[in-house]
């Protein structure tokens, strides 16, 4: 069923009785050409592009819970492509371009909203770094504007410009950045993949790999063995433990990141504002809630919840940046598990096991990557060759010294 304004009017007039489920509840078949483990944004996008762009529809997505229950439904929904390094910028810009056409492409309202992403700077050194980043972006054909204090005041006059410790000196704005409705991204990809023949199998956890003579023949699951020519793993925070079942150790640690939503307020924030020096970032949802977050909790965790010290820390950051936030009540908070890689950049690569492919290490910035990650992983699974914009995301880059360390923080996942 295609969604349209006409369809909506028809359903309104006939009591909304004609809507059908957006995807089937598929039963597992004994064998598939390609199995994607993980029904998060990346797994579903991979399946969607496999079917739509690469003509592979004998595909299954296996999800241990319900689709969209992982990070894709837990993040703060920021999309942007303001990266510095050559290995990253073309990839994230490819993603940004896909976001821009996503809703028309999969006929689903993902509420992609290009309201702008503003990174504030507070020292001369930080301004120099942002100038460099903005120039790097422009060299890659990406939009970037350096704002002085007046420029920031025009966009967000309510900020605390004269904070004694972090006075606001300016900012780097990416006008094409913004937010998207995270759940809808998962649902839109699921629906698009399903309608092209992909089986989306929920409540089906992968519990092991069947590997013979260095070749992966399929996966053991809570619903029995399922064979496949190729298996791709896209389980985000669970990367370490799922790939351990194939005998692999990864350059990844799992950490928890929390997110927060305030009560609904009148329109207040024009776009996304980030306060890197205090580590706080905030936007306003279409329902009016302030959506914000900050640092990870800082130690390995698979619990999808955080601890109170970080709640306090994030709220302090918020108060330092926009003191009026103290008048708003906090409505909800939750945590998600991220696979923090050792250089802060992702991995999309084949493994040493024939037929087994890996997509992960997205840290806490992988939502914006969803379309490009899906496309590039589909490219790799379909053609056994990396897509041009993801060639740097190799699994062996730590051994060969080709790290993509955006932050320059070294091999310390809790600093990325």
């Amino acid at each position: 069923m295609r969604y349209s304004g006409f369809r909506l009017i028809k359903e309104v007039l006939t009591g909304h009785k004609g809507w059908t489920p957006a995807w089937r509840d598929a039963e597992p078949k004994p064998h598939y050409d390609i199995i994607v483990i993980g029904g998060g944004g990346h797994g579903l996008a991979t399946a969607y592009y496999l079917a739509k762009v690469f003509g592979k529809s004998n595909v299954a997505v296996l999800e241990k819970g319900w689709i969209g229950g992982g990070n894709v439904g837990r993040n703060t929904t920021i999309i942007r492509s303001n990266y510095l390094l050559d290995g990253n910028e073309p990839f994230y810009e490819f993603s940004m371009k896909l976001w821009e056409g996503l809703e028309q492409d999969f006929n689903y309202n993902a509420m992609v909203s290009q309201r702008g992403v503003l990174n504030l700077c507070h020292t001369d050194g930080q301004r120099d770094a942002f100038t460099r980043r903005g120039n790097a972006m422009r060299l890659h054909g990406v939009d970037a504007e350096l704002l002085d204090q007046e420029g920031v005041r025009k966009i967000a006059p309510f900020l605390n410009f004269d904070n004694a410790r972090f006075p606001i000196k300016g900012g780097l704005l990416q006008p094409r950045g913004g937010t998207a409705r995270h759940d809808a991204v998962a649902w839109g990809y699921a629906r698009g993949a399903d309608s092209r023949g992909v089986d989306i199998i929920q409540n089906c956890a992968v519990t092991g790999f069947r590997i013979q003579n260095g070749k992966c023949l399929g996966v053991e699951t809570t619903r029995g063995f399922i064979g496949a020519n190729r298996v791709g793993c896209a389980v985000a925070g669970w990367s370490g433990s799922v790939m351990a079942m194939a005998g692999m150790r990864l350059p990844i640690e799992s950490h928890v990141l929390q997110a927060f939503v305030s009560e609904g307020l009148k329109p207040l924030l024009p776009g996304v504002i980030t306060f890197g020096a205090g580590h706080f970032y905030v936007s306003q949802s279409d329902k009016g809630g302030l959506v914000f977050g900050g640092d990870i909790d800082g130690y390995n965790s698979y619990a999808q919840r955080g601890n109170l010290p970080v709640v306090e820390d994030v709220c302090e950051g918020g108060m330092a940046l926009m003191p009026m936030i103290g008048r708003a009540r906090l409505l909800r908070m939750w945590g998600g598990i991220m696979d923090m890689s050792m250089d802060g950049s992702p991995i999309i690569d084949r493994t040493d096991i024939d037929g087994l492919y890996f997509n992960g290490g997205w840290c806490y910035g992988g939502f914006k990557a969803t379309p490009a990650s899906g496309w590039c992983f589909a490219h790799l699974l379909a053609n056994d060759a990396p897509h041009p914009v993801s060639t740097a995301y190799r699994l062996d880059r730590f051994r060969t010294g080709r790290m993509i360390d955006e932050k320059g923080a070294g091999a310390q996942p809790n600093l990325h």
Partner: protein, 95 residues
């Protein structure tokens, strides 16, 4: 989280800095013939278990000792706390 320091008793985890997997105590021998491979594994690869995890915490705002904490990464429950010094000695290191 409360970390039960072997010398100082229960302390808030906020007093500590986290370093990561306790296997980092076992720094490889830089003169070994396969030192390059060993250091790659030591620096970058992790077991990353969902469950019991032995990890290093530094009591920065306290007695500045290093501890090996055994914690469940699924529940955040801490089951044992040892002085990293004792763990290293048990591994045959002379500190």
């Amino acid at each position: 989280m409360i970390i039960n320091h072997p010398l100082l008793g229960p302390r808030d985890s906020q007093e500590f800095v986290y370093l990561g997997d306790a296997s980092l105590i076992g720094r490889p021998d830089w003169q070994a013939s396969d030192a390059q491979q060993q250091f790659y594994e030591y620096l970058y690869l992790r077991d990353n278990p969902a469950g019991l995890h032995r990890e290093l915490w530094f009591h920065e705002q306290g007695d500045r000792s290093w501890l090996v904490v055994t914690r469940n990464t699924l529940t955040h429950e801490i089951t044992s706390v040892e002085l990293a010094r004792d763990v290293a000695r048990a591994l045959g290191r002379d500190i």
